[in-house]
């Protein structure tokens, strides 16, 4: 199966890139943002025994990455069916 029209193909790609960029923003914020750039600010907040910035750098970023990749796979699956390119 392929796209019904050239316009569909372009729209699909545009949406695909849009989803990707949004998720990459999250990817950046949880690791480089919370874990590195803002670590001192977040360290003022204590969650249990963890300083929050330290927690993001050594735990939180990793959990977020897992969620991001699965969310991406699910979101792309939906996009595929919207444009009829989910079959084999």
């Amino acid at each position: 199966m392929a796209f019904k029209s050239e316009a569909d193909a372009q729209a699909y790609w545009k949406e695909n890139v849009g989803i990707m960029l949004k998720l990459l923003v999250v990817w950046f914020v949880v690791s480089f943002g919370c874990g590195i750039l803002l670590v001192d600010v977040l360290n003022n907040i204590q969650v249990g025994g963890y300083k929050l910035g330290f927690w993001f750098a050594q735990q939180g970023a990793i959990y977020s990455f897992v969620i991001l990749t699965f969310y991406y796979a699910r979101r792309m699956g939906k996009l595929d069916s919207k444009y009829g390119v989910d079959g084999e």
């Binding site: 392929a2 897992v66 796979a73 390119v85």
Partner: protein
């Protein structure tokens, strides 16, 4: 039972398992040899990718480094997991759709150039071989420590075993073997962590234990750790920045894009049936990797605390050297742990000040292996850790060897120099290439004084600066042409190699590399291990600039880019 006997039994049993699987799954056709007929389920593929990915660096080395780096060690944790997000979104689905065997094959076709393909092969071989040497070293050290043989004999045994299943089994053997190896290594990593976390905090989950209070008190473990290390004069554990914020940023980025550019990981995504499965596979791989990576910070912090508590059980009361525990003696004989009684009181003083510190050498790489002994865990747990470390090192070495073999036999011989080569001869050539790579990496593993940690970081920097940008631009831009891609790859890898060699010497000595003090001559204070990200930026910039002033790629290539962006109509690796 004796620890020695128990270690032989546990390691022996796990090896028998891997070899049994390798023989059972002996590959037939070329396609099966490389990519297992494209018929592997995403969860299984995720597990195998995780085993491929987590090497001696992750298992043996990383937590030990974090134990001494504290917060600064986060670069490894975020860097080596965040790369999978890039892989899942930027590369895996498209390369799967493209559906050929190897990474250079894609680069050669997308940039319609044999030169581009050869440059890609060279980059791939440089970073894979660099990485394998580190693994060979890890295998040798682990064997020699636990089987009480010399390092050389340990390395030879390791080479023979890698040869046996990588060469005879091919990808399919490796895939199933690696699933078994994943199970062994993850149990070996988590079981001692659970014991230690429970002993220290009463919470069996290490991820929560690190954030809990010390058992029987209301003092948080991390606060206690910060307190004891600062009392000894070290930097505060939970806020100890590695170099500078910029250095940590660039280091993390370098490891992330290096992860997404490592050929042996990318090749994994050719082994699933569909594009959809390729996306899911990356997620599953990350789940399995995260089990180790979220446990590692707890292993690190608790190991540091246990080490200090052993040496100085009560503040001001130091351990008498003659009463030191067995593990201390064992590691002293390896030369990786050294004590020098500077003040002649017969007791061990461990402090940050170099003039009075008597623990003159604590090699960070021993921490994970020594950790269960320091925490006085049962012998079977210690034996299991040995088996896990070997599984991690062997599985990664095998995956890398496969990537090297396919680059040589498939890309260089069949793709460039001998297009008419028969399938049988190609398979033979790839086996010979693997054997050659094992011999070469093994040989280099014998000779240089120390290669482990620095080598692995360099391998990532090289992959980040050469392969990842070429792949990404090949997928997301139709305008990048062969001139741009070739110039970009060469610029990226050269800048990185030059910077590293300039600061660490051509035979970089790794044993102090991770703790070495920051050099004033570094470019904006960026350490050589982190320079791959700068190389990658160079690659992108050069490729873009050169492509702007040269001719656009031909229509057929632009159609190829369109084609890989459509998730359906997968062909190629799904078996003949």
């Amino acid at each position: 039972m004796e620890l020695q006997t128990l270690t032989y039994i546990v390691v022996g049993l796990t090896f028998a398992l891997y070899m049994g699987i390798a023989v059972w799954a002996r590959a037939g056709s070329t396609k099966e040899f490389y990519v297992a007929g494209g018929g592997i389920h995403p969860v299984a593929n995720g597990m195998a990718t995780a085993a491929d990915w987590m090497s001696a660096a992750s298992f043996i080395s990383m937590a030990g480094l974090i134990a001494f780096m504290g917060y600064g060690g986060s670069v490894f944790l975020m860097g080596w997991t965040g790369g999978f997000v890039l892989l899942a979104m930027l590369l895996a689905p498209y390369l799967r759709k493209y559906g050929k065997f190897t990474v250079p094959e894609f680069i050669g076709e997308r940039f319609y150039s044999r030169t581009a393909r050869i440059v890609a092969v060279v980059c791939l071989i440089i970073c894979s071989v660099t990485y394998v040497i580190g693994q060979m070293k890890g295998i040798g050290v682990a064997f020699s420590r636990f089987l009480e043989v010399s390092y050389e004999i340990g390395l030879l045994i390791g080479m023979a075993i890698v040869f046996f299943y990588a060469v005879l089994g091919g990808m399919k053997g490796i895939t199933y073997t690696q699933i078994a190896q994943f199970c062994v290594l993850i149990l070996a990593y988590t079981i001692p962590a659970i014991f230690i976390s429970f002993n220290l905090t009463g919470n069996p989950l290490p991820q929560l234990g690190l954030g809990s209070t010390m058992a029987g008190t209301d003092v948080y473990l991390l606060d206690r750790l910060d307190q004891v290390v600062t009392e000894l004069g070290f930097a505060e554990y939970s806020t100890d920045v590695r170099g500078s914020t910029l250095n940590m940023f660039v280091y993390t980025l370098s490891l992330m894009i290096g992860t997404a550019g490592l050929p042996h990981v990318i090749i994994r995504f050719f082994t699933v049936p569909t594009v959809k499965d390729a996306r899911a596979s990356a997620g599953w791989a990350l789940v399995f990797i995260s089990i180790l990576y979220t446990t590692a910070p707890a292993v690190a912090g608790m190991a540091r605390l246990n080490l200090i508590n052993t040496i100085e059980p009560v503040a001001g009361e130091h351990l008498v050297y003659d009463e030191r525990p067995q593990w201390f003696k064992n590691w002293e004989t390896t030369g990786l742990l050294k004590f020098e009684d500077k003040n002649g009181d017969g007791r061990i003083q461990y402090v940050a000040d170099k003039t009075t510190n008597e623990m003159v050498k604590v090699d960070q790489d021993i921490m994970v292996l020594a950790n269960p002994e320091i925490a006085k865990l049962p012998n079977w747990v210690i034996a299991l850790v040995a088996a896990g470390g070997l599984a991690a090192a062997l599985s990664t070495a095998a995956g890398l060897l496969l990537a090297i073999a396919s680059a040589i036999s498939h890309d260089l011989l069949k793709g460039v120099f001998m297009p008419d080569i028969s399938e049988k001869n190609e398979l033979m050539a790839s086996r010979v290439a693997m054997a050659g790579a094992i011999a070469g990496a093994g040989y280099l593993g014998f000779n240089p004084p120390d290669f482990a940690a620095g080598t692995v970081a360099l391998a990532f920097g090289l992959a980040a600066s050469s392969i990842f940008p070429a792949l990404m631009m090949g997928i997301f831009s139709k305008r990048i042409n062969k001139e741009g891609a070739i110039a970009g790859m060469i610029a990226g890898i050269s800048v990185t190699l030059l910077y590293v060699f300039q600061h660490k010497g051509i035979m970089f000595v790794a044993d102090t590399a991770f703790l070495g003090s920051l050099d004033a001559n570094w470019f904006f204070g960026i350490e050589p291990n982190a320079f791959g990200a700068i190389g990658a930026a160079m690659n992108f910039a050069v490729a873009y600039g050169v492509s702007r002033v040269t001719q656009a790629p031909p229509q057929a290539v632009q159609d190829l880019v369109e084609y890989i962006r459509v998730p359906t109509g997968v062909e190629g690796a799904q078996g003949h």
